[in-house]
Amino acid sequence: MTNKINVNEMKLTPKDFKSDQDVRWCPGCGDYSILAQVQRVFPTLGIEKENFVWVSGIGCSSRFPYYMDTYGFHSIHGRAPAIATGLKIAHPELSVWVATGDGDLMSIGGNHFIHACRKNIDMKMLLFNNEIYGLTKGQYSPTSERGKITKSSPYGSIDYPFNPTSLALGSNATFVARAMDRDPKHLQKMIERAGKHKGMAFLEIYQNCVIFNDKAFDELTEKETKAETTIYLEHDKPMIFGKERDKGIILEGFEPKVVSLKDGKYTEDDIIKHNETDESPVRAFILSHMTDDPNLPTPFGVFRQVLKETYNEALENQITTVTEKLGKGDLESLLFSGNTWEVKG
């Protein structure tokens, strides 16, 4: 097994993962970057090419499988997590990846999403969050900010949005992270981390839709503002940010607050150290909510990673235990089980 992996690692290159289909996203769409980073990371994961599978729903983002030269299934709106679940249960040795959009996963597929998280089904889920319905030409989505003016909300949307990382944490996903299309290096790292996680790995990616929601994430992605508006989470490191790395996050009770490290009042020791592997999800939940507070930087990186038995492992274990106890199933005895009696001719 190990041998085989090494050989493959040497052999595979990003080009091996490019399919022969023309990519048809709009020029400038953030999806291109996600595709490129996935193609860069895949050869490094040590997994045989034939064992990768991409499953998607419907949306611009869900076209993703066509552009990857792996097994792929472009399914129906919202159902990718459920299809991926069945495939992974049937075939546990596969590396199953889901490409989905904010409408696909947070709206029509919401139920499948929370249950796949809850059950810790071993799949890697990449949410292309552009805060809009791209493919249907620009209606507000469950992640659009309130008041958004779109074709289906000409006077401003009155819905409150979902925060996908909070939802994932609340549903007990065992890996929850965020990245953006415009930071390829970090995105690669996050894809790699997700790919190596055993269990449900949820990665939200802020993705720019140039056509229907352009610049939605500019504050977070553009050089001028980025340092002040974002914070990169690193395990066991204090939560410091700012152009001059002069600001940090402290917790007052359950409330995160920005403090200055310049005026002598606070030192690095006062700043909270990020701990991805905290048993309790509470801290990660608080961090995920920083996203919604305009006075706080938006976190990127791994919010939480814990390891626990996956659904498919538990099922295989149960099959083994029951088989050890009852012996391998024998059809003849199953047919003749229960109350039988003889009728003589």
Binding site: S19, Q21, E48, K49, E50, N51, F52, V53, V55, I58, P65, Y66, D69, T70, Y71, G72, F73, H74, S75, I76, R79, A82, I83, A84, T85, G86, L87, K88, I89, A90, H91, E93, L94, N111, H112, H115, L315, Q318, I319, V322, T323, K325, L326, G327, K328, G329, L331, E332, L334, L335, F336, S337, G338, N339, T340, W341, E342, V343, K344, G345
Partner: protein, 616 residues
Amino acid sequence: MENEKTTPVESLDTVTVMFAGDSGDGMQLTGTQFSNTTASLGNDLNTLPDYPAEIRAPIGTIYGVSGFQLKFSSTDIHTPGDSPDVLVAMNPAALKKYLPTIKKGAAIVVNTDSFKAKDLKLAVLDSNPLEDGSLNGYKVYEVPITTLTKEALKDCEISAKDVVRSKNFFALGMMYWMFSRPMEPTIKWLDQKFKNKPEIAKANKKALKAGYYYGDTTEIFTTRYEVQPAKLPAGTYRSISGNEATAIGFVAASVQSGHQLYLGSYPITPASDILHYLTKYKNFGVKTFQAEDEIAGIASAIGAAFGGSLAITTTSGPGLALKTEAAGLAVMTELPIVIVNVQRGGPSTGLPTKTEQADLLQAMYGRNGESPVAVLAASTPSDCFYMAMEASRIAMKFMVPVILLTDGYIANGTEPWRVPHESELPKFNHELETNPEGFQPYSRDENLSRPWATPGTPGLEHRIGGLEKANITGNVSYEPENHDLMCKIRQEKIEKIALDISDVVVDGEEEGELLVVGWGGTSGTLTEAVTRARQDGFKVSRIHLKYINPFPKNLGDVLSKFDKILVPEINLGQLSKILRSTYIVDTIQFNKMRGLPFKINDVKEKIEEILGGSND
């Protein structure tokens, strides 16, 4: 003991018994025990449980009544009987509910202890039927079952509540005596069931024996009955329900095809038992997934089918409605899945615990676009076994979704089944594709079936999905001519199945005035109705359809040989519609939706009405 000799024993061909009481009275268990014992004596039998949809309906009310009807016979029979010869009523509500269904002059055994004023009030009765003459003309046996049970168990060290609960075994004991059945099978069962509660086992056995000896020593019952064993073909038999047969059928299909069995399912009455059974068979490598909803049930099955499993999903009408869109995806991706729909009364939540055949058109046409699937229907409880195998075989051979229709009646009803040996079962397999040379995901074999290439196979990486596919390459295609071609191929694939299934066989003469056409779970009733009409001199033939899409290839011919075609269905005429439009024939409809199987006599009368005076 003396009385055993003095009570006359009457020999009968066939008896129908109804055990009825409050849901808490254990009547399903009593009925099941009586059936198992009766089956082991070699009688042919057929059962129909009739229980409320509510888990704990108010005690003593009509809603809370639970009944178990069984018919057993010395000849072969096909239905649980129209009208019971004997009714055991544990309370007034049970008596009120089933009195209108039993034969005139039938025997009624009542538990007089539960005919107090408050019991009558709960059953909404103004007067006591035991006193007001409403039972005139019946053989009424008044037995204080609760009192007698308490008396018999007075030395048992169990709670007063458990004592009263044992009264169903007293009633069972009386019936064992009345119908000359041995107590041993139930005694053995009790010892096994209450291994860890020996006091309860002891109490129930005591109640059973007390009931038996009560029949034996008192002179209250004027007759004892005997039903000789039926002349069934030789072999080993077991009693089987449709749901269990369905479950075992899929396990057999998995073993015979070499494909791992995967079930994605969401609980729904009356289909849940299939999930319950299959989840036990882990040592057969069966993987079951209790999904978050019906959509995830079928979607996960589609995922498993992509991975090379024999993938199925089980549900009832409302669940089939939810699976609609995903079923279309299976059509488009040409993946083999089996969808089992155990039909119940609809529309909407309808009659969850009752039977109906009203999902046929949903199964045939309930998807967007031109979206043909194969549709099969099982005809009896044990036939579910063979049809589950057949559905699996067709799905894999033709790479198509198959809908297998059963219904609440055959799913929960039981019949004796001559168990086949593994060696008698067909083997079938649609091999997985492994050869990368010239591989095309939508190339086709002689059945128009595409290769089944699964993730994990080196060199066959490809993409499938719900967008229209170019024939052969499987690439996304919006080409007008290709779409036209693909719609026709998907349809032709289903039509080709007709060459792979058996012709329909006519029961009776192959031409004549009247042909009765049935499908699915009405097989038993229609067989008996036609048989009885023939005994009365009527000339009538019968066919029963188990393949509805496609129909057997000789069906058109068969229909054309008859002047009149009667189509009895537990719906408003759904098969009739399809027959009329497919074969441009006229049909006479017979439709009744009571949540119950047809009454044999109703169908027989319809046959007689059509044939008029021609029985001379």
